[in-house]
């Protein structure tokens, strides 16, 4: 019997131990002994893998390299994301930490895990699909967020059909998860600006017909956040073409004018920041100018009493500018 020596398990041992334990989660009866044991093994292996990666603040590079290589050859990351819901609470957090640590790994100018994942799209989509399960959505959301920091991975998601699942996740989950999904949608749309600008330009119709459903959502937070994001997208210089297209469309103008009168002050305010772009456009298309001119008097009355309690100088200036523009129509 050997009580005192715990043999140091090598990275391949740990990864293999972990991979072997996952299918054992199906063995025996639910809640039974063998499942419990499998979960215990998973938690233990995850902890040890985490210990190698974080190693008391001083991880050993050779061990980390060996571990990373082993996770790539066994597709461990995919298995972890797909099965995370079956792990214990702390083990789920370990999965996130392990995943994100590997993702941040850099050798010179290379990002080995990013390179690996750019050939494994299913991992990205599995992380996105985490929003289907309340229990783990915030864990997988963190993994997704870490992946979206990298343009290559973000691009995979943006150009996929799965990207259009975001509105569904945002609309059907509870507040905390819905907000997390929204934050990742925003990350996809704002982090890598030139890449996104090109996408939006090429996929303008599909994107905006989907995005408009969020603006018209019955959910207060979704509506408010998506309007705000719309404002940010349109006012970003990289998206100049997209903005020009957007503010030439009279349906969009009508939608914003209606939202200016929303019962929520915050939504009115966000709508203002999109509406102002239509008005400020020096080359307003006829259809836009017609609508504005037709409503000239009403708009002037409306704007003069619009959010006068705001202590925001820039807002006041902008409002004044709009009033002058509309007067000049």
């Amino acid at each position: 019997m050997n009580f005192f020596k715990t043999k140091q398990r090598t990275p391949p041992d740990l990864v293999r131990g972990l991979r072997d334990a996952i299918p054992r989660l199906d063995h025996g009866a639910p809640g039974g002994e063998s499942r419990r044991k499998a979960n215990e093994d998973i938690s233990k292996n995850l902890q040890q893998i985490k210990a190698i990666l974080y190693g008391d603040g001083d991880p050993l590079p050779e061990l980390v390299a060996q571990l990373a290589q082993e996770t790539y050859t066994t597709d461990l990351l995919h298995h972890l994301v797909v099965n995370i819901a079956r792990f214990e609470f702390e083990a789920r957090k370990d999965v996130v930490q392990i995943f994100n640590n590997l993702l941040r790994r850099q050798i010179g100018s290379r990002w080995p895990t990013v390179e690996y994942l750019s050939g494994k799209h299913e991992v990205i989509f599995a992380a996105l699909a985490g929003y289907e399960n309340e229990e783990v959505a915030l864990n997988t959301g963190m993994i997704l967020k870490e992946m979206l920091r990298h343009e290559q991975l973000s691009k995979v998601l943006l150009y996929s059909d799965q990207f259009y699942k975001f509105p569904h996740y945002i609309e059907t989950t509870t507040f905390g998860i819905s907000c997390d999904a929204f934050a990742n949608l925003k990350e996809t749309l704002t982090r890598h600006k030139p890449m996104v600008a090109e996408y939006l330009d090429k996929n303008y119709d599909r994107f905006f017909s989907s995005f408009t459903t969020l603006i018209l959502s019955n959910n207060y937070v979704t509506k408010r956040q998506s309007l705000k994001l719309l404002g940010e997208i349109l006012l970003d210089r990289a998206n100049f073409n997209v903005m020009t297209k957007y503010i030439a469309n009279e349906a969009n103008l009508k939608m914003m004018m209606n939202l200016l009168r929303d019962k929520s002050k915050n939504i009115q305010f966000e709508a203002f920041h999109v509406f102002k772009v239509f008005v400020a456009n020096p080359k307003k298309p006829t259809q836009i100018e017609t609508i504005l001119r037709r409503n000239k008097d009403k708009l002037l009355v409306f704007l003069k009493s619009f959010h006068n309690d705001k202590e925001d100088e820039q807002f006041s200036d902008e409002k004044q500018f709009l009033i002058v523009q509309i007067q000049g129509l």
Binding site: F89, E90, K93, L138, G141, M142, E171, T172, T173, T174, F175, G176, S178, C179, D180, A183, N218, N219, Y220, V221, R224, Q225, K228, G231, E232, L235, D236, R237, S264, K265, N266, H273, N308, D309, E311, D312, E313, Q314, F315, S316, E318
Partner: protein, 515 residues
């Protein structure tokens, strides 16, 4: 739409009696329809909340990752209209500040509570998280006497920010460590300080300085030697408190180390704490809380000295809740600005003349002879330093007040700073010059950062709170000019706001004394 059903909190929870009301919203007792278990439900109207929804979501993310018997458990968050329901574990024993109403706790109870708090902190700190708002009011007891840390992360943040009054997020400073007040960067040791203050609070009924105005306390804590526990207490207890209350955070032991302290090792089992709950029950039965009920309407968890009609809301300061974000705060603060260093010369010859001739005692403003503009990165770093107090994302160097518009509109941004670059001069009364320059050198020596707490947390919010009370555009313009004037003054004379407030507080107190 079908999906709406999954989000409706009333499908899962029944809201019952209101058990609390704060500046952030209301707290209800309720139960889970599926399990019949009692829960606490915080309801916050996002439409009137000052917080960005992203910040609330971040905090929920943090809460959702915590699972400890020493921390109130988060059950979920739901939206109903613009009302956010945050469902948390319910603790029927109440908070330590409630339980203290019949009288302070005996030392043996305090030892148990502090041990349990240390266990909670050990967990949080090992997760890389800070509580940041430890005080008796945030320590809850379950029916069985288990001690739970409450109101951090989301709730801590919300309670400080979702006030009906705008921009009033100065917190209760009594429990704050010197380094937190100075905004010079802090870590988990800030919680250890607050724990020491809380131990004093439990023993004496109030934290140190409770009789003073919170504004005054904001600079007494960094200035004075740490408080000590005096009175008829055991040596181990007094020693324990002194370990927690060391000015240099590095000298304070960690939660794990403190668990080994004699005061803690002698503590009894937690179920003894049910005696405190029973005592409170008896006290209530005897009518002890009648006065209390009346007080509740004028509300707030202010110590006795607080004036409910104050301009400020001294509920809680909000800050980042994780170590990671606390560090971000340090980074965004950026290097000290050239114009803070009195007497610093620019390489440009023209500025040299104006810079060196201006004495600290005079009140010269050399308009025609401005030093060259400082490099723009310095400007933006100063701005985001201020912004951290207001919880702006660190990566947008927005404007000083209207972060909302600027952040979305980098293209529209224009530099309105050209008129801010006055020479390194300031006007003071001769008498306070020494004090002021001492203060300034203090600031630069200690952390190389301007201490703008007083400006960001007291003065600007106070002026903001006046906006809704004036009706004309002209008045609003005047108020925002006032804010700008303060901001400019603080930049040119770092620390001046603090000194001004100091003067005001002093004179107010004198007047009170004379009466």
């Amino acid at each position: 739409m079908d999906s709406q059903h999954h989000q409706d909190p009333e499908e899962f929870y029944v809201k019952q009696d209101r058990i609390g009301k704060g500046s952030f919203g209301e707290v209800y007792k309720g139960y889970d329809k599926r399990t019949q278990k009692t829960v606490a439900i915080k309801i916050i109207d996002l439409e009137s909340a000052e917080d960005e929804i992203e910040d609330i979501q971040q905090e929920i993310q943090i809460l959702s990752q915590l699972d400890s018997p020493h921390v109130t458990k988060y059950h979920g968050s739901y939206l109903k209209g613009s009302n956010l329901w945050i469902v948390m574990e319910y603790c029927s024993g109440g908070s330590c500040s409630d339980l203290m109403k019949p009288g302070v706790f005996r030392e043996e109870y305090i030892a148990i509570i502090v041990r349990e708090l240390l266990r909670g902190l050990e967990y949080l700190h090992s997760e890389g998280k800070l509580h940041r708002d430890i005080k008796a009011a945030n320590i809850l007891l379950s029916a069985g006497g288990e001690v739970k840390l409450a109101d951090f992360g989301v709730s801590g943040q919300l309670s400080g920010t979702l006030s009906a009054k705008k921009n009033t997020f100065v917190g209760t400073p009594y429990w704050m460590s010197p380094e937190v007040i100075k905004q010079s960067g802090y870590d988990h040791k800030a919680d250890i300080w607050s724990l020491g203050i809380t131990a004093i609070e439990l023993a004496k009924g109030e934290p140190p300085y409770a009789e003073l105005h919170p504004m005054k306390v904001l600079f007494l804590i960094p200035k004075n030697p740490p408080p000590v526990l005096d009175g008829n207490f055991s040596k181990p207890f007094r020693e324990f408190v002194s370990y927690c209350l060391q000015r240099d955070p590095r000298d304070r032991p960690s939660a794990r180390d403190l668990l080994k302290h004699k005061f803690i090792r002698m503590a009894k089992k937690t179920n003894y704490l049910t005696e405190l709950i029973e005592r409170h029950e008896r006290w209530k039965a005897e009518g002890g809380d009648r006065q209390d009920e009346e007080d509740r309407h004028s509300a707030s968890d202010l110590p006795a000295s607080g004036d409910p009609e104050d301009l400020w809301d001294f509920g809680t300061v909000r800050h980042a809740a994780t170590v990671g974000r606390a560090q971000t705060q340090i980074h965004v603060s950026g290097p000290p600005l050239t114009w803070e260093n009195n007497g610093t010369r620019r390489s440009d010859g023209s500025s040299d003349s104006s810079g060196s001739y201006i004495s600290t005692h005079s009140s010269i403003t050399v308009k025609g002879d401005l030093p060259p503009l400082p490099p723009s990165p310095a400007v933006s770093s100063r701005r985001s330093d201020q912004a951290t107090v207001r919880h702006m994302p660190p990566d947008n160097g927005g404007s000083r007040r209207s972060n909302h518009t600027v952040q979305r509109e980098p293209s529209d941004e224009y530099d309105d700073d050209y008129d801010d670059q006055y020479p390194d001069t300031y006007t003071t009364r001769a008498g306070s010059t020494a004090q002021l320059s001492e203060k300034m050198s203090h600031v630069q020596l200690e952390d190389d950062l301007p201490d703008t707490t007083m400006l960001d947390s007291v003065i600007l919010p106070a002026i903001s709170s006046l906006f809704p009370r004036v009706s004309s555009q002209e008045a609003r313009v005047a108020l925002s000019a006032l804010q700008r004037a303060f901001t400019d003054a603080e930049r040119i004379i770092p620390g001046v706001t603090m000194e001004l407030v100091n003067e005001i507080v002093e004179s107010v107190e004198r007047v009170e004394d004379e009466r």
